[in-house]
Amino acid sequence: MSSVTEKPAPPPATAHAIRSADWLRSVLANQQFLLLLALLALVAYFTSRDSVFLSSGEIAAMLTVFAELILLAVGETYVIISGGIDLSVGAIAGFAGVVAAFAMRDMISAHTSEALVLTVGTITCAAIGIGIGLVNAALMNWARLVPFVATLVTLGAATGMAIVLSGGGPIGADSAAISLSARRIGPFPYLALVVIVITAISGLYLHKTRYGRFTFAAGCSAFAARAVGINVRRHLTSVYVLSGLLAGLTGMVFYMVLGSGAPTSGDGAELTAIAAVVIGGVSLTGGVGLITGTILGALILTVVQSGLIISNVSPNYDQVAVAACIAVAASLQALRPAHRRQS
């Protein structure tokens, strides 16, 4: 693939050659298409190593891992397109999961119905996510911290509080939640389907509404956005609240899968989410990106993680493989504007 990208456009000997060169160029300019190709190539490779990779049980397992990652990555997509960064998403997920697990544990011992227990847990997680998102915004708006520092503060605070509250170990042992998280139609766990619906709504909201256009505008140039009458400060507040909300809900996804709230659930998850966003072609400088890119990025990371175990490659290579994905995706992005200028 790289040999194709490096090849200079052939001399325009014939009309046919010109047409095919144009076609190649337009394909190369479409990072989404390349990501899809990369994903399919990875799936084909891991399936050739062991056909069980495409069994419905394994697809369900991978979709569950995808569900643990994608909401964080979608929130991060909004934030990065708006020109910021949110380092607190993993910590929010861990902290929200622990607090909700305490609430749910008490309800379970009082024999409350599982539906009500999970509803309360979900609302608790959402509320905590929104709350920390507001703290992030307050640190930026009032304390004038840049997003990196503001969300680093809440990352540390939420991680620490989760550990102090829980005493370090997991809270709860909710077998009913685990069974529910494992229930599926064919290869699709219900839990993953719910997460996919939330992802789809968030994606449409980003690309099809005025709210989404404001987000891009703020990321392109906050100055210009302000000049055309967008309340940038209020808009960014809502973006960090949305990111917090999606991170809080991820805490609930972790709880469902593990049957407990573990304080370390989200450790390092912010970096995986940022990796998915970067692989997906969202520009870290803001104003550019597609939700489909983030989805493909998250799928690629999920496929690599499971694929290495399925093909019995030493798990030490996992991080190297992820690093390679980021490097390839980022260089494609660096090459792309050049193509655009030429055409």
Binding site: L152, G168, I178, S260, T264
Partner: protein, 329 residues
Amino acid sequence: MLAIASAGLLAACSSSSSSSSTRTPASGGSKNVTIAFNMGSEADPFFVAMNTGAEAEAKALGVTLDWQGNPSVYSPATQIPIVTEMLAERPSALIIAPTDPNALQPAVNSAIAQGMPVVNVDTHVSDLSKVLAFITGNNMQGGEVAADAMAKAMHYKAGQTYQVAVGMSSPTSTTDVERLAGFKAEIAAKYPSIQLVAVAYSQSVAATANANVSDWLTKYPNLKGIFAIDGTNASGASAALQARGLVGKIALVGYDAYSTDVALLQKGVFAALIAQQPGLEGQMAVADVVKYLRTKSVAGIPHLVTLPNIVLTPTTPASVLAKYTYPTA
């Protein structure tokens, strides 16, 4: 870089809040004995359990315990400033679980130079010659008894094949590496039909441990046993077996006796849990120090104590389970 920054943040938050001490000069009357007890990460259930044992012994012996550590970060960078501050308060003795054998040596030397008896618990500094005692659990033995417990749960018979997998935290975690070595040595010595087919790392994240086990269950449909070598792997693996309806079909042996895992042991999700004895370590350390302070003699204080890890199974009496379960929030 992030880790360092957040560690610094946590350290800054912690140093003022976590003390349970009263300022008592060591030179005061023999009634006012204060023992400084310092460890890596205070909130780790292992150290919470150690605190319970140490606190009970201190109360029984009428001495004061100054218990301090970083809330969550297990690192010499955060431990050294805390122990330095504790020594500045001139305690009567120091009990320490060093996060690094060399980095904490100067702190230990300084305490000894000031005439304090020093005991190491769980982990040790490189030069133990002037240390009063070192009390620790036996990870190698823990790995061995884990293999025995797994073989028993799989109804091991020579001649059959038993595929098993091990979930670790990271390839560099020394306790995990020792447990794995013990596990492998026992298999090689006693159970030639057990085949270790996979090892995976969780990076101390339960969700990752869970995903690893899910992948194994696809890859190895005949998997017979899983050794979840630490607490996070135990919770990730137990959830994965429950999700796939494989409870009782795969012999899951976990490490550490978190209360949630003990509850799952009683339900049969775990075939066995290997429990350490942190409470006893803390209790013995305090007893040794007080004995030395009162008698000024090392007589009757063993220099090295290695406590065995305990195997808990679903048939272990509830009273015994309660004794070894780590207290949690």
